[in-house]
């Protein structure tokens, strides 16, 4: 029986493993699926087949490893944040330094995988959607590296507030299309990318930037991002001789979070915290789909969405353009319902404070997205004993946000 919107879905039986999903139809419990127009179905099935083949091909993995190491700069360090630890006076805090990757965020891990896959499939035209521009920049970068045509859809509002990234994409040879439809933000950019794909099915590969969209995207993007958690596991065993006690990551669509979380889902002793964007506050405009939304269907999958009584999608708000999306990846929706991951939220103001604290104590300017995760580390760490090992994913660097942060703090950058 289908779960209707708003119906409580707690108290489900716990699976033996949290890592076996999705099922053949792309479902994580009631979430996920393939809710797309018929025109796209053959493409989605072709992609699923191509990905299954690549997954089992050692040469694909060899290419991934080669470019991860020499082009992206992996592995990214697991860094003991000593001064932050001292300042908070509780848990021992480690940063997973995804902001040190080429292009400055975790996004490139997934884009590398998808672009190598597009090459295998013989697709020469790459389209992508982007919010803050990090996924767009990563896609433009890999397209430049492999000589592929790149078109990036970006809401007109985001084009305006993320100008440096628009310029970066242009320099990399990509065409940035400002999207004027709907609310002119990330969700509309995704609508427009889907409209492009439906029109140019034969030669085009749609490189989705997060663990959302129709199956196989949520599973495939997760697999490409799991390098974050797999490395963390090895690095923590080397550093401390045991697994971490807790993991913290921010969530928009949720790709950096699932990448860190997934390899630890079956280690029941590891506490896992996902941090959504609470914007101006959960009773005001925000982007916390799990905390403030309910199940619905958008962009090819069933998941928690921000919407009104009639199923019309609401505007999300976050200071961070990368978290400004009214949905969340379906696997997170399922992990939320199963209770395996604890989803909490941080406001714009809390993220800004965390940004400043991290910059001043560690000499690391985090992006506004992971500043949300840091905001909850500031809250959680003091409650833990000193031998508690806490890992926070610094999913991107803050350079792109400096103009916006300056504005919020009442400064201007000349």
């Amino acid at each position: 029986m289908l779960k209707q919107a708003g119906q409580a879905v707690s108290a489900q039986a716990q699976p033996n493993s949290f890592r076996t999903g999705p099922d053949e139809g792309g479902h994580f419990g009631q979430f996920g699926g393939r809710f797309v127009a018929e025109t796209l179905m053959p493409n989605i099935l072709e992609l699923e087949k191509a990905y299954d083949e690549a997954k089992n091909d050692p040469s694909f993995h060899a290419d991934m490893e080669h470019f991860s190491k020499h082009y992206i700069g992996r592995p990214s360090p697991l860094y003991f944040a000593e001064r932050m630890t001292e300042h908070l006076g509780g848990a021992k805090i480690y940063f997973k330094r995804e902001e040190l990757n080429h292009t400055g965020a975790h996004k490139v891990n997934n884009v590398l995988g998808q672009i190598l896959l597009a090459r295998r499939m013989g697709k020469k035209r790459i389209i992508a959607e982007t919010g803050a521009g990090q996924h767009g920049v990563a896609t433009a970068t890999l397209c430049a590296r492999f000589g592929l045509e790149c078109i990036v859809y970006m809401g007109a509002v985001d084009v305006e507030r993320q100008k440096p990234n628009v310029f970066r994409m242009n320099m990399l040879g990509a065409k940035v299309v400002p999207v004027q439809s709907g609310t002119r933000t990330l969700k509309d950019a995704m609508n427009e990318a889907l409209r492009d794909w439906v029109t140019n099915v034969a030669d085009t590969f749609y490189c989705i930037g997060t663990v959302a969209g129709p199956h196989p995207y949520p599973a495939m993007v997760r697999d490409f991002q799991c390098v974050i958690g797999n490395e963390t596991r090895t690095q923590m065993l080397e550093a401390e001789g045991r697994l971490p006690d807790s993991l913290v990551a921010c969530i928009g669509g949720g790709s950096n979070a699932i990448g860190l979380f997934h390899p630890f889902l079956d280690d029941k002793a590891v506490e896992i915290y996902g941090v959504e964007a609470a914007g101006h506050g959960l009773d005001k405009l925000h982007a916390a789909s799990l905390t403030g939304g309910r199940p619905g269907v958008l962009h090819g999958n069933r998941t928690y969405l921000l919407m009104d009584y009639d199923g019309q999608i609401s505007d999300a708000h976050s200071i961070s353009a990368g978290l400004d999306y009214p949905g969340i990846g379906p696997e997170h929706a399922w992990l939320h319902d199963m209770g395996r991951v604890t989803y909490i939220s941080a406001t714009d103001d809390e993220a800004l404070e965390a940004f400043q604290l991290c910059s001043q104590l560690e000499g690391i300017l985090p992006a506004l997205e992971p500043s949300h995760a840091l905001a909850k580390v500031i809250e959680l760490a003091p409650q833990k004993p000193k031998d508690h090992l806490m890992v926070v994913n610094i999913s991107g660097r803050g350079d792109k946000d400096l103009f916006q942060i300056a504005e919020h703090l009442g400064n201007t950058i000349a």
Partner: protein, 279 residues
């Protein structure tokens, strides 16, 4: 109620012509005007009427239908109000098939069972839900068929012979062939290719095959009517309506007439093609 759909296609066949299927958005630019247009369509020559359920994120639609949906939402149109309009249409017209067309989320949120029973009671005959491929038949298609509503499937140029049987398996009423790979109201199709595509689909199903996407004029309608059992027109009607709205997007005295004038032209186009009546 698939009987009304079957009867209407039977009637068109007897008249030796293709059916004209028209699409407008419920609540665009306001509920009363959209109802007035809906009521005027059969008189102007429409055989089947499609009524759009507004949605904020219509991923398969072009600018005309996107804007129409937003105009409707702006004046507070919702699923319950759309069903009310159909109820009022049905009170005066018991014969014209009404198809609701839209996206799944508003229906899912309304509640599938409640939606099906309310839609049926209101006088809806069939559903076209763009983002429900056969892979998701359990969601709405099978419950709709069980409830006695036709679930009309879209077949597209990318639906090959291998996939067609799956696409046609749980469909009823008619098959809607999307003439292009693309969004509504965009490119004009190659009419020669459309005819051969319809023929290909007809090898797999006894259902009538109607063709839509990119049909804008009486001449287009006539060209499509050559090879298809019906012609669907949507974006062009919405453009005609939009051309009459005032600066605030409100209806004017010309709004209903602008749509019916184009429907008459389309109807003449469809009726200009004489087909052999079915034996």
């Amino acid at each position: 109620m698939t009987q009304r759909i079957e009867a209407r296609f039977e009637q068109c066949r007897a008249e030796g012509r293709a059916a004209l299927v028209t699409y407008i958005m419920a609540g665009d630019p306001d509920p009363e005007t959209s109802l007035a247009i809906l009521k005027s369509l059969p008189k102007a020559g429409a055989d089947i009427v499609e009524f759009g359920l507004p949605f904020t994120d219509p991923m398969a639609d072009g600018p005309a239908i996107q804007a129409a949906g937003l105009r409707a939402l702006k004046v507070g149109q919702d699923t319950a109000k759309t069903l009310d309009l159909i109820r009022r249409f049905r009170a005066e017209d018991q014969d014209t098939p009404v198809i609701l067309m839209g996206y799944f989320n508003p229906i899912f949120v309304y509640g599938v069972d409640r939606f099906l029973s309310d839609a049926k009671e209101a006088g809806v005959d069939g559903l076209i839900v763009v983002d429900l491929p056969p892979e998701e038949d359990d969601e709405l298609c099978l419950p709709a068929l069980k409830a006695g509503l036709a679930f009309i499937r879209l077949a597209t140029p990318t639906t090959d012979d291998k996939r067609l049987p799956a696409v046609l398996a749980n469909t009823a009423g008619f098959v809607y062939y999307v003439s292009i790979t693309g969004i509504t109201g965009a490119a004009t199709p190659d009419f020669g290719k459309v005819a051969s595509a319809v023929e290909r689909i007809k090898h797999h199903t006894p259902l009538p095959v109607v063709v839509g996407f990119g049909v804008k004029s009486g001449a287009h309608a006539a060209a499509v009517a050559q090879g298809a059992d019906g012609v669907v027109v949507g974006s062009a009607l919405i453009d005609a309506l939009k051309g009459t709205l005032d600066e605030q997007g409100r209806a004017t005295s010309r709004s209903v007439e602008a749509v019916t004038t184009l429907v008459k032209e389309l109807s003449d186009g469809v009726r200009s093609v004489v087909k052999r009546a079915a034996a």
